[in-house]
Amino acid sequence: MTKNRRTMISVTLILLFGFVLFYQGTDGFRAFTQESARTYELLKNKPEFPSVTLQDSNNRTYTFEEFSEGKYVFITFMYTNCGTVCPQLEKNMSEVYDLIPSEYIGEDIVFLSISFDPTRDDPETLTKYRSYFGSDGETWRMARINNQEEQDKLLERLGVVVIPDGQGNFQHNSAFYLIGQQGHLLEMMDYTKIIKASDTVISYLNNKVED
């Protein structure tokens, strides 16, 4: 074999290896960050919402199943001390809430903002925070999860990463989550695309697609 042929062969093999490496490493060039990989994975697996006990701004305690009662649930994760993303997230959520036809609200779909900072977000704080965004405390509730284990399990299951920055704030990823009637994750939506998110939700409500 000539040197050139050998070089050609090794270059080809190496390029092939590189292609497989990048293909494997990015789920077929779909996910270049772990976040997008997780979104892809989550939507493929549609995990079930774990059993958690919520305490809402009106100081009521109930489980997630008691709250949803077979309705669709639109969820965000936040903490009230957050100065950056959360206010925007909740404001956008209120816009989605306003865009959903009112006959569906409370009947087929309920809204829930879950705080992952239960030490500070007691019912009084949540009540105050709720009023900023026009949440009525009934069809859109704000709640915390007092059991740390339950909260960790939920965050892990839905791929919410929360890193405390050591100064009382958290770095976290944000999205709109839609839980189906059977309690499975249906959609993870970009919280900055309000119209798109509400359209998606409405199409579920109109078709009553069984999940």
């Binding site: 040197k3 062969i9 490493g25 270049f32 960050t33 772990q34 976040e35 770095q171």
Partner: protein, 185 residues
């Protein structure tokens, strides 16, 4: 052979769990210190492989092109935000990092660089300048967190670090052009 031993010592040192954990806890250190050091350990150990398998390397990497492509592929792979994240969260990926960077990037770099033509060297050099600038642009410009294991501020730090490296590489190029090298020889 002495160099190869130093390389092995460096490699073992980097693989010690407390050292690895410490280096990986800071984003810029993870990418711009741990990873290059792993490549360096392979670079030092390459002498051992060149002595052991001279025929293999001479046969399949005669002009240095296959080796340098492998080096570029491996290094570029580790520039993916996802690869960095998964190195921390998945054991397999971490293991792959400790194998690929020294043995699939460091060793071929040592074996290939001398064999490359000067045009080949220039292309690789330019590729790295462009890559670091693109990296800087992505990591500084991104408003969202690219790595779930690191804070946004660390991401920006990494971006500026990459830009600094690109700047150094450009300055080196400029001095090559504008300073008469023969004065120093």
């Amino acid at each position: 052979m002495k160099l190869a031993k130093y390389g092995l010592v460096l490699y073992i040192f980097l693989a010690l769990p407390p050292v690895a954990n410490l280096l990986e806890s800071i984003m810029i250190v993870h990418m711009h210190m741990q990873m290059p050091l792993l490549v360096a350990s392979g670079f030092l150990m390459a002498g051992f492989f060149q002595l052991k398998f001279p025929n293999f390397l001479e046969k399949w990497n005669s002009n240095g092109i296959p080796g340098i492509i492998l080096f570029v592929i491996i290094w570029s792979y580790w520039m993916l935000p996802r690869a960095m994240d998964e190195a921390i969260t998945l054991q397999v990926v971490e293991l792959f990092k400790f194998i690929s960077l020294p043995f699939l990037a460091g060793v071929p770099l040592r074996d290939s660089w001398k064999k490359l033509s000067s045009i080949g060297k220039d292309i690789v050099y330019l590729y790295f300048i462009i890559m670091f600038i693109v990296m800087a642009w992505i990591y500084i410009g991104s408003e969202s967190q690219l790595c779930n294991n690191y804070l946004l501020v660390e991401q920006k730090t990494l971006g500026w670090g990459s830009l600094a490296i690109a700047a150094c590489m450009i300055i080196y190029l400029l001095q090559l052009i504008f300073i008469d090298q023969s004065e120093f020889e």
